[in-house]
């Protein structure tokens, strides 16, 4: 999977899925283009020098220290572009409404929900996903492993990312601060005890 991240054009099982959706997307785009903008609006735009973007747009996103080029639409969420276009599949699509935290990424140093962030707005910003985290003994993922901080594991990437962002801002959190800092993530298996202990242990490990 790591290799696919470095080369977004590398073949993967996602390419198969992507191929079928491109045909559908093209049909929609053509329709939108035909509706177009009325002349008055176009003229108004020209005089005010406002550049509006629509249709398919080429963008470069800074993901985990690499500049990745791809094509998106203005409505593409950062989560969908990461997963479906760039094969960065750490952030998970669960609620898709900014309610569960599984899609958490670190954007310019801040933990955010990538499902309610537009990819087009993320250009020029630093995007970090858990693929870039230290998986050694001093890292957050290791602390989750040691504390059994997961059951089904689907929320885990979001928790690990939220925990990483928390510790970068507050390297020495209290139990209350860990609870408050991980408020934005939900584990439906209910393994919060392990998650909270993992965060506290990771804080100690990072300091050493």
């Amino acid at each position: 999977m790591r290799d696919n991240v470095t080369d977004p054009n590398a073949a993967s099982r996602r390419d198969f899925l992507r191929g079928s959706s491109v045909a559908a997307a093209t049909a929609v785009l053509t329709q939108t283009a035909q509706v177009g903008m009325d002349e008055a609006a176009a003229e108004a735009l020209a005089t005010q020098q406002i550049s509006a973007q629509s249709g398919t747009i080429s963008v470069t996103l800074q993901v985990n220290g690499k500049a990745l080029k791809t094509e998106i639409e203005p409505r593409s969420t950062l989560l969908d572009v990461l997963r479906h276009r760039l094969d960065v599949t750490g952030p998970k699509r669960v609620c898709d409404r900014g309610s569960c935290g599984a899609c958490t990424v670190i954007l310019d140093g801040q933990a955010v929900y990538s499902c309610t962030t537009l990819a087009i707005s993320s250009q020029g910003k630093t995007i970090r996903t858990l693929e870039s985290f230290d998986t050694g003994e001093g890292g957050v993922p290791h602390a989750f492993h040691q504390n059994d901080g997961l059951m089904c594991g689907y929320c885990t990437p979001g928790f690990v990312t939220a925990c990483q962002a928390l510790l970068e801002k507050n390297p020495n959190p209290t139990l209350e601060e860990v609870k408050k800092g991980l408020d934005g993530n939900i584990c439906r298996c209910g393994t919060y005890v392990g998650v909270i202990q993992a965060a506290l242990d990771a804080a100690k490990a990072i300091k050493v």
Partner: protein, 328 residues
Amino acid sequence: MKAFEYVGATSVDQAVKALTPGSAPLAGGTDLINRMKDYVTSPERVVYLNDVKELAGISGDAASGVTILAGTRLAEILASEVVKSAYPALWQTTSEVATPQIRNMASLGGNLFQHPRCWYYRSGFGLVPKTTDGKHMLREGDNRYAAIFMTDGDALYVHPSSLAVPLIALGAKATLVGPEGERTVEVEELYKVPTSNSESPFATKPGEILKSVTIPASKGKNASYEARHKQAHDWPLVMASVNLTFSGETVSDARVVVYGVAPVPWRSKAAEEAIKDKVITVESARSAGEAAAAGAKPLSMNGFKVSMLKTVITRALCTSAGNKYWEA
């Protein structure tokens, strides 16, 4: 969500010009993007405001008042020492909004102009949701989180912005900027009550966006208290913000504003009258809470909010006096 064209504004001037009819301003996206995904709102154009540098920041101090620009993220409001020390009503409420991720994304302007969370509205039936045979979905349906004041009218949802409540209690003013220039209004004047689905819940003019909110100098004591289902990631069920000025020990002027009881932030004049010229004690605070509940007309499933209303007002008043008797 439907396709739209995108303008990434870099200045207020550019944003105002780009906000042509059929456009929607986008800040943190925690409300608008979800509405677009659910086809509740489908703008032809989205104007992104969160990269407008002249819209972010906090200035001023407790002695002269504080101005918070509209694009300031909620996390930045929480990081402000002056807000924390001089306006605890606002700081406390901000700290309880949603989740760390949302507080990193969401702006003050987006919080004040988020759309109501009524589930009939979010399912596409509008702010005055009615069945084809004219029955009001909230009046006849599941109204457990709906309003208990102004329920003779047709807008039965509750106002969604928890930050509007302390801001109104603190007497804050909002500066709007639009095609006709700038104007400044009271924060409570940003909102109105729609009587049909074609009306807006906002009293802004077409193309106007929020530029800043200015809170006057802190002269007395202020506090908020909220009652809620969950510790995190939820709106309050009912919340009260109070702002008091004193003459000696007694309250010379009071503002009491309540969340979760009406389609606008609910200013309880009855509670304000009841606490005026009194010393804040548990008893006088309880009397103010009782006074606030007079005139409440709950719907079929939300009578519980009447007792919550009394409790949050009592506890907000006691918090302002430093008496958290329920924690003892």
